[in-house]
């Protein structure tokens, strides 16, 4: 069993598991942090951005006037933003049989894999994952295609040139593999390969293994996966949460007794407790509004935003913010808000029960009804006529490089009354803000990451008791910036097996069994004899039939009836020369001793060949000599 690691990002994993005869891709996350190296894509012409000076190296030898611009001491690529894809050279991706998706954040690289690698398999995901994943992809495509950029910068990627560049650009890895966004057509084609599954539904893969998704509690329809054969069990844990937010709670018990547990998607903010951050979010929001400023919340169009809106729903009354308008701007805002209300079966019990009242499970429906929350596909159109300040705006993209948020940054960045509150943990807020410097706007960083933290995960592992744990190497040491926090790492016995991008791990398994079926008629013919209470034995002669990784023992076909012989009488005259079948073994087996040796199950090998016989028996010389003598005796008898 092997694990190929195609992504180094611990929360946006992409791993391939070769198990029995199947090749399974676990998630295909898209590392979007690469876009931070690019200039923002403004929705309306921005004089500031267009006037940025080109970057010229100190000695003046390198001048990529069209490609690199300088802003507030940092260099940015002036081009359509590009993403860092999962590794494609490590193994032939066309051999992948299935892709299992755990949540909508971990599927954003899907079109790159399914459309350009010769992939012919199936993708499995839950319904909310597919639908919301589609929304997120649609939004991404929309953001990119709305502001097309003709040029595509490539010169800076030249290794010689890249080496000379300053700052983060110099250290960016695999820049040649970076790709522009996919198209809507590719998205549709990729998603057409998705087959929907429900929690705990068992899907057979070629009869060899069975996969089944379990609720992971992180987002709508998010799942962990169990991949098992009859005798082996692999658990794949991706973004999971024990917090009682909106999704169905995490199913922990089904993870028990796995041989290998692949652990990814822990919290990216181990020191930031989501509850504390939510409090911080609310108080900073209230503070800004009271002082007459606007609040900008760069966020994804699905996920934590539902919780934020719910929290605000309760908070705005107590903080006297009842009259402040809340705007949610995204090409998919409407669908996202409405989808969340219809996936009742994927919600936590609390919200599910509301559906029977009947009441919308999320309170944002009421916010919309009472006109406190308004949503628009973009800043163009209706929004501009109804826009009222001070207000709170939720919009994407959290990287601040594309989407409507770019416009608000340009609009509000100059006033210290306004505040930008970062809630998504995926991007460093300082890097995100870099191309907007100098900035007068107040910045508040309260990343809300509900995924498991180290404390919760060690408790979880103690309970589910996997034999081996595989995890990204980042989890095996304290964060770089807080090297003394030994509480922020995984400490297990035996220690977890770390992986990084491009690792290939041999997963350890101590023993292999295979299940073989016996056909009823064959089973019927067996005559078991009880050799010890509870243990019966029988000799079997059969034909082993293997198809689709399913092994069956069938009765030995009867030899075709001998063709009628012409000789008749003569037969009787000449008694057959054939001797009566000799029993191969005779005598009695000393039962107790035999069973003991059976149970001991020591690995002993007797190799019979034409010109020699070998008895291999590890570290047990007496046994070996006994066996040798026995074999010699039998050989002599024959």
């Amino acid at each position: 069993m092997k694990l190929y690691c195609l992504s180094g990002h611990p929360t946006l994993p992409c791993n391939v598991l070769k198990f029995k005869s199947t090749t399974i891709m676990l998630d295909c996350g898209l590392d979007t942090t690469s876009v931070l190296n690019f200039l923002p894509l403004p929705l309306v012409h921005s004089p500031r951005l267009s006037k940025l000076p080109s970057w010229v190296s100190k000695d003046g030898t390198i001048n990529l006037e069209k490609e690199l611009k300088e802003c507030a001491g940092r260099v940015f690529v002036d081009s359509q933003p590009e993403f860092c894809l999962p590794e494609r050279e490590l193994l032939d991706l066309s051999t992948i049989d299935v892709i299992l998706i755990s949540n909508y954040h971990c599927m954003m690289a899907l079109p790159y894999i399914t459309e350009h690698t010769g992939f012919t398999g199936t993708v499995y995901a839950t319904e909310p994952t597919l639908q919301i994943g589609r929304l997120l992809m649609e939004e991404l495509v929309n953001f990119m295609e709305r502001v097309p950029k003709a040029q595509s910068a490539t010169c800076w990627k030249n290794k010689e040139i890249q080496r000379m560049l300053p700052g983060p650009l110099k250290d960016a890895v695999d820049v040649w593999t970076w790709k522009r966004s996919y198209s809507m057509q590719e998205v549709n084609s990729a998603l057409s390969k998705v087959q929907l599954v429900g929690y705990s539904q068992k899907v057979e893969l070629f009869g060899a293994v069975q996969v089944s998704p379990l609720s992971s509690g992180y987002s709508l329809g998010s799942s962990n996966w169990i991949i098992q054969s009859h005798h082996e069990k692999v658990a794949y844990v991706s973004g999971s949460s024990l917090l009682t937010t909106h999704p169905q709670p995490m199913d922990q018990s089904s993870l028990k007794n796995s041989d290998v547990l692949i652990l990814t998607g822990l919290t990216q903010m181990p020191t930031a407790n989501p509850d504390g951050m939510l409090g911080e979010f609310c108080s900073n929001l209230a503070m800004t509004i009271r002082a007459g400023g606007n609040v900008l919340v760069p966020c994804y169009s699905s996920g934590v935003i539902y919780d934020l809106l719910e929290c605000l729903y309760q908070f705005i009354e107590s903080a006297n913010l009842g009259t402040t308008p809340f705007y949610f701007i995204s090409p998919v805002a409407n669908s996202s808000l409405e989808f969340s209300q219809i996936f009742a079966e994927w919600l936590c019990h609390n919200k599910q029960s509301k559906v029977y009242l009947p009441e919308p499970p999320f309170p944002h429906a009421e916010l919309i009804q009472t006109n406190k929350l308004k949503h628009y596909p973009s800043i163009h159109g209706d929004f501009s006529s109804e826009f009222r300040q001070p207000c709170v705006v939720f919009t994407g993209h959290p990287s601040l490089r594309f989407g409507d948020v770019v416009h608000f940054m340009e609009l509000w960045g100059k006033s210290s009354l306004n505040t930008i509150i970062f809630t998504e943990p995926d991007f460093s807020y300082l890097d995100a803000l870099a191309p907007y410097q100098p900035l007068a706007m107040k910045c508040v960083y309260c990343p809300i990451d509900t995924r498991l933290n180290f404390h919760q995960v060690s408790k979880l592992l103690k309970e589910v008791q996997p034999l081996h744990v595989v995890c990204p190497e980042q989890y095996t040491q304290p964060p770089l910036t807080q090297s003394h926090r030994s509480d922020l790492m995984l400490e297990l016995q035996p220690p977890p097996m770390p992986y990084r991008r491009c690792s290939v791990l041999n997963l350890p398994f101590r023993r292999r069994y295979e299940r073989v079926y016996i056909l009823p008629e064959l089973a019927n013919s067996l005559v078991p004899s009880e050799i010890k209470p509870g243990v019966s034995m029988a000799t079997v002669s059969a034909v082993l039939h293997s198809k689709d990784n399913k092994h069956t023992l069938q009765s030995v076909p009867k030899p075709p009836p001998a063709p009628p012989s012409k000789k008749r009488k003569r037969v009787m005259e000449e008694p057959p020369v054939v001797l009566a079948p000799k029993p191969l073994l005779s005598g009695a087996v000393p039962l107790e001793a035999f069973l003991v040796t059976l149970q001991k199950a020591e690995d002993t090998l007797i190799q019979l060949e034409e010109d020699g016989t070998h008895i291999v028996c590890d570290n047990n010389e007496p046994l070996r000599t006994t066996l040798r003598d026995l074999v010699l005796r039998f050989l002599q008898k024959l």
Binding site: T271, A272, N273, D275, G276, M277, L278, G279, E280, C282, S283, N284, A286, M287, R290, C311, F315, E317, S318, A319, N320, C446, T481, Q482, S483, H484, R485, S486, D487
Partner: protein, 902 residues
Amino acid sequence: MDRECVLLLPSVCEVLADSGRSVPDDTSLEKLLDWFTGLTEAGGSLLEACPCLLKFISTVVHNTASDPGVLSFTLRLTGLMAATEDGFKMLQEQSVLNQVFDLQHWQEAGLWDDPCLRIGWIQGLRSMLQHPKALSFFVQSDFIASLLQLQTDTSLFVASAANHMLAHILLFFQKVSSAGSNGINNKEEDERRIHHSVTDLESPAVTMETSEEYSAVVKGISEYLKESLIPKENTKLHQSLQILKLLALLLAQAGPPLRDKLLQTVTDSLEELVTAGCSQLTLPLMDVVLAANSSCGPDGRVPDQRVTRLLSSMLTISRPADLIHAAAALLSRGHHDTVHTARAVRILLLPLDIITGLTLLGTNTAADEHQVSVVEQLKSKTSCISMTCVCLTNTPQITLTPSGVLPCPPVLIVTAVVSLLRISSGISSSSFAGCSEVCRNVIGSGKVQKCALDALTALNSSPGAKEKISEVFTILIQYLNNPDSDPTVLHKSYQAFIKWIGVCTDLSLITDQLRQDLVEVVKKRACDMRWEVRDSTVEFLGHLAGVHVSVTSGEDLCDASEALLGGCCATPLLKEALQDTESYVRASAISALAKTLTHSWQQGAALTQDQTEIVSRLLEILSQDTEGFPRRAVVQYFISWFLSHSSLSPPSSSTPSTSFLMQCVRTVLSQGSADLDWEVKVHTLELAELLLDQAFSAHRGYRKGSDAHRALQHPYGVVSDQAYTLHTHPGTHTEGVQSELAHVVELGVFSALLSGLVDCDRPVGLKACRLLIILRETICPLSLGALDVTAAMATVSCELLGRGWGKEITKILGMESDRASEVDISAQRSFSGADGRGDSVTVSVCEVLRSLDLDERLDVLTQSSDHIHNSPLSLLQDILTASAAHTHPDTKPGHEVIVDCY
């Protein structure tokens, strides 16, 4: 004794003695006993007063079917009656005592299994053991063995009572033995006599006979102590524990002969126990050892070497958790012996030293051989947190120890606590030297954070603290800013901040950055989601305004809120908080506003637009808020405004702010006295009192309300203990007083008092009544010399409305009959919603005051509301009634329950 009670008592005794009849509830027996105890203490003889009791006792004792509760009561009653020698003699003559305390009798009757009876037996004996005769009886009956057995009784109450009883015997009669002992010089004996005359006033006369008996008791008990102190097996821990408790009790109070005798007997066993190191016994053992050590102190005698050694070995026991508790006990019991205190301090500081990596104990830690085991212990999360908390709780005490004892300068301890706070909040530090395996146990632990903040708060006055001010404020602001701090942690951080600001004589120590951070964090916390946090923040703003500091050394004082927050921050935040959805926050905001504005009121500054807005908002709250707390706070706000204002200017001066204040006061009086909450009404009356004080304090014969009834304060009454300093003005002309009265009436003070008088809440009525009496004595005293005044006063009148309290007052004044028809009409009118103003009566203030019969009303109001139901007579009647109800043939079962649950 009340004659009626004496008459009732025989029938009550009959009821109690009859096992078929029951008493109303088990508290009635206790109450009865309390009553008897009171009678005995007053010096009466129960037997003489109620001879029926004797018969009662002998009846009950012989009836084994009696209720165990009644039996227990009887035993205790007998003990009470035998507490005097006369009583004892009489009871013995009737041979009652032997029967009552006959153990065998109770055991045979199978009643001894009831703990109720056992405790009655112990307490009865204990009450009796007040004189030598009783002791003789006790010894002769050989009760000591049984009592020792009861010391480990299964019932905790019985065991504890037995323990106290044993201590009582030894301590109460100890003078007996000292009289018999020899070889003590005169001076010491004198001292002892003085000592005893103070502690044992009731010590009985000593005879040689009792001395022997006492020695027997002492011998018996000490033998037992010696034998049973060491637990034979683990299950006997309870016994050792009980004995240790008894020993601690004895050693703390015993005189030298007894103490020496005890120590001589048990020291061996104590030594063995200390070596055994049983962790459950550590604390009680430490108590005993400390008691043994300190009891040697006052005589000026050096404690026995072995006793001192015991203490030393207590401080070297091997289990770190026990050791730290022992050290903490030593410190908190105030033991003064340099060597041991120094040792205890080192033990307590060691965990802090390990976690923070600061060398609190100096570099020579080789002496602390148990450091390794402490580190091991600290690696487990639960013991780490508990040990750290013990250390932290003791740090303030540690800094108070003499400098020779302390292994480091006190300021280093402040540094250690600050550094622990930093570690606990997970703030990274590159130059971190502590043990990281231990540190992670305290990261994020709310318990450690709270303890450390408490310690920090208490450390503000430790020597050298000033150097640390900036560091302390930095960490406190970090805590206030930390999103994960829970409300209690935030509250404690605010408290620590206030305390430390108090020691900060010079604000220049606080950098601009810190001030800016503070402003930001306070603004943020004022918008917190949790109301507790908003409340603490608002309170903090109020407290900050109350602290006076100088901006740079030598400059004038100003309030800390203005100096730190720049003045423009607090008031807007508090104004915002007046709109809070949580009533506690609104209430805190109102009091904080009062504190913030006090300074400007005292300076007599003109009211700003902002302040006027606040006042109108407050009046709105007083009339509309649905919760009591904010309304109470509003009245308090006007009280403090009035106080600050009147300390400044004479009441007659009419600046715009004075007339605005008076206008508000009028509204507050009328709305506050009509409030639904009794505390609001009481506060309103306090405001009325201030107005009376201001108007009449210069007038002869005026007693300030606050002086007059301070001694009479009722426990439920809410009377603020502020000392009022009012402006007094010379000249006491009748016209002056008259106009003052007219002014006061016009402000609505008199109406407020009258409405308070007829209020259904007693504290309100009481307060109003007292104030009215004072007013009456001031303006219309019943002396001849004051007639002229009275005559003049008669012209001042007030209006009584024909509804509500006005109607009540009219009724009391007896004007009802004259105006019956009119009142009827007015009642109808008010029913139909018409304004009842037209039916009001105008009456003279003096006339009202005289006719209200205030003194009688005060009498009624002063008595607590349950005084009628609490008298012995009613108790006896209750018992009789209950038993009658029970024996009544018609009574259905369960009736009692219905009666009980009104």
